[in-house]
Symmetry: C2
Subunit: 206 residues, 2 copies
Amino acid sequence: MAKKFEQYCPVAHALELVGERWSLLIVRELLKGPKRYTDLADALPRIGTNVLAARLKELEACEVVVKRRLPPPTPAQVYELTPYGVALRPVVRELARWGLHSLPAPTEEDNLVPGWLPDAMETFFAPVAPDGSFEFRIGDELAALVDGEVVAGSVEDPDVLLEASPAAFYYLFVERRWDGVDVEGNRELLEQLLDAAAPVEDPLVV
Amino acid sequence: MAKKFEQYCPVAHALELVGERWSLLIVRELLKGPKRYTDLADALPRIGTNVLAARLKELEACEVVVKRRLPPPTPAQVYELTPYGVALRPVVRELARWGLHSLPAPTEEDNLVPGWLPDAMETFFAPVAPDGSFEFRIGDELAALVDGEVVAGSVEDPDVLLEASPAAFYYLFVERRWDGVDVEGNRELLEQLLDAAAPVEDPLVV
DNA sequence: CCGCATCCCCAAAGATACTG
DNA sequence: CAGTATCTTTGGGGATGCGG
């Protein structure tokens, strides 16, 4: 936590708090909700237990994370973001939007994390979604978006029903290629959603 | 550049490209414009020349930065962001907005970098500024904002003229305390600008 | 000078084993 | 389950060297 950069600059300061390796990935995990130590270790495959412990202590020290003990029914302790930690969501979101541009399409070997689809919808679509209801079925994941709100399960009679493999979904989203994509309902509304999220040219034209 | 995180995740991928120590600070520097090697080294006090060289190579490899040779008048080579590198601006901006909340007020010893004020206006005010013209005189820095555009020098007959020390400006901006702040002109417009940038409660209520 | 490459030293990361 | 302890290896920080 010592001043590594020796600059009076909010960016340098932020990076002193959450710029270490793994820190922002821990935050990304905890943005999905409180998690136990072992669950964090499982979600961050190669982290190494000592590093995880160290990072969590640092994040506690700068009040990004708090350790909390759950009430007796299941007396486990969980790590949880503070409000200041939750405020990192825009940072993580912009990193995701930027990173997606140079991320190759998912292959069969890429083991996508369960729950990635609602997470992705929250990150990419929810902030910019037009009114309307969308249901996405990607691989074995299912998620929906209703008037800008992500809902976990299915939705009745959605305006748009999209079905695709993860790879086809990637190409649709990143390159606007419709091969392998099944759309039922209001396709224009879907295009409107894609254009709003618009990672196809948007960030590169800043 | 090897896969350190072994996850198919845009955030992890982004951090593999620009998550190393110093990388985002180099980007922050280059967002102000192309810079020579030595100028970068000067702007990043404790970086160490080997690390700077290594980071620049990595950033070149992932097409965030390009090395360019200036034409004969001054035959120097400069480093410059690619469009993909410039697309990191939202990431740096959100980091700055987040970091500011736990950054203490500047003291006398904090040697602010020349040009910090237009930079700060670009980061915090320009994206959200209402129409109107503002001139800020903070310490020995001077910058203005006209209809959301930052202009380096002075502006004639601004709607708002603000004068303060760096510390007073900090307290005004972060905690909305007006001690030591001189305002001439449309104070309501200034409050509107501050509320739009609003780091006082905005990110903490996300 | 400017733009690095090399060398040395130490701090931190990775891997594994072990404990309350 | 939630870490600590230990060991090895990688990488950063700082100084110096060196060609253009």
